[in-house]
């Protein structure tokens, strides 16, 4: 039960992050929100594993964390290439 509550709580955080991602306003806010969303997903999966008593999903959580990180780095590398003054919103 506690896991369920925790999962719900994490979902709430994810929702907040998602809202920030939609709202922006700057591209960095979005990236930040995406990153936050990703790490919360990692936690959610971990909790979910315990919730369903199949904790061997943790590999997926590791993958998520990894992919999230690489994704963020890729986004930042992309943003770096943009010429000044033409930031996307």
């Amino acid at each position: 039960m506690i896991f369920a509550a925790a999962a719900l709580g994490i979902l709430v955080v994810m929702g907040l992050a998602l809202a920030r991602a939609f709202l922006g306003p700057s591209v960095y806010d979005r990236i930040l929100a995406v990153n936050m969303f990703g790490t919360k997903t990692v936690l959610l999966i971990a909790v979910y594993g315990f919730l369903t008593e199949r904790p061997d999903f943790l590999d997926i959580a590791i993958t998520y964390a990894l992919i999230n990180f690489i994704g963020i780095i890729a986004v930042l590398k992309f943003v770096e290439r943009l010429d000044n003054g033409t930031l996307p919103d």
Partner: protein
């Protein structure tokens, strides 16, 4: 070279573990989630991280794009080879039962090998694709 070293150092620290994790996923696909495809992608992702952080020239020195297509071809052929061997042993294509004396062992070997083929192909192809995009980006 000295700019942005935080990222580079952490990445370099992490990448061997990422690769090892990928290989873990590769070889434990039988027991848990994962398998050749996921492993291949993660392996490629590890190298991609390196390429992102260190730039194309440096990444090419780590893994040359020229060797990748042959590796990918090898992966497909490994997969197909398992099928061909099972065919030569008198079974149908990809009938792993015939790969060992015990069918279940045969299945196990067969699955390991073809997963390996998938992993090799996927990793090298993903990297090839990424390199191709990155090269244009220079």
């Amino acid at each position: 070279m000295q700019r942005d070293f935080v990222l580079r150092i952490i990445a370099k620290l992490l990448i061997p573990y990422i690769l090892l994790f990928a290989l873990y996923v590769q070889f434990h696909g039988d027991f848990g989630p994962g398998g050749g495809f996921q492993a291949g992608v993660i392996f490629a992702a590890g190298i991609i991280l390196y390429a992102l952080v260190n730039g194309f020239e440096q990444a090419v020195r780590l893994v040359s794009p020229r060797i990748l297509p042959p590796i990918a071809a090898f992966g497909v052929l490994l997969y197909g080879g398992v099928g061909v061997v099972s065919m030569l042993r008198g079974g149908a294509f990809l009938d792993y039962n015939l790969l060992a004396h015990d069918p279940v062992h045969g299945q196990h070997y067969g699955i390991l090998l073809i997963e390996l083929g998938v992993g090799i192909t996927v990793a090298s192809i993903m990297l090839t694709i990424f390199y191709a995009f990155m090269e244009r980006n220079r």
